[in-house]
Amino acid sequence: MVSLNHYLVLSAVLFSIGTAGVFLRRNLITVLLSIEIMLNAVNVTFVAAGRYHGAVDGQIIVFFVMTVAAAEAAVGLALVIALFRHRETLSPDAFTMLKW
């Protein structure tokens, strides 16, 4: 029988994968994708906890998380495009100055 624990463990595994991606990758787009993995890991927890309590609030929070993720992706990708235009690279280590 699948219990709440299964979903919490899955969520923890996905969150760890996402963090590892943010820490280990040297590509701005992959870093943004890893953040999306982490947001989705948390979404799994919200839906599973909502199911456990028999309330729809978990699903509504997931709806808001998705909206914020969309806003974050739009602004993040706009920044990536602006940075790429200046430096012709996607490595986050190339952008260490506050001004150029």
Partner: protein, 172 residues
Amino acid sequence: MQQTVFFLFAALAILASIGVVAQRNPMHSVLLLIVSFAGLSGLYIQLDAPFTAVTQIIIYAGAIMVLFLFVVMLLNAHTEDDVVPVTLGPHAMKLGAVFSAILALELAYALSGLIPTPFPTDPAVTSAVSNVATIGTVLFTTYSFAFEATSILILVAMVGAVVIAGKPRSEH
């Protein structure tokens, strides 16, 4: 049966997510992330949340990931630079690996104390959480302020993205 489906979708989501992080080609990363989202959406159906499952596919896979794909194609940056920059030193990656391992261990420790908590099997609960009409009612009454705030957030993000990514103004 339920267990088999859970492990199938969970394995799909985890393997695809590992692929996202391990791939060197951003295009493959984005496509693998869509596969991962499909797996998660299957799990949402298992959790009696069909509305969330469908929004996961439509909003995440359909809108956000397509935005990522556009940017990957637009920048035409196929692979990551192989050289680790000297400014960071040779141990920077190892430090990152250690930090993410510590976080994973912390999560494992936190979850090891859980007692098994099965989901309620009462059909009334199942139909309550899977009812889209209930979700709509709660969203537009209890959470109406948050809903309006989100709409403003989206508007600000849209204008901000256009301003940031737009053509730089000519020097004068």
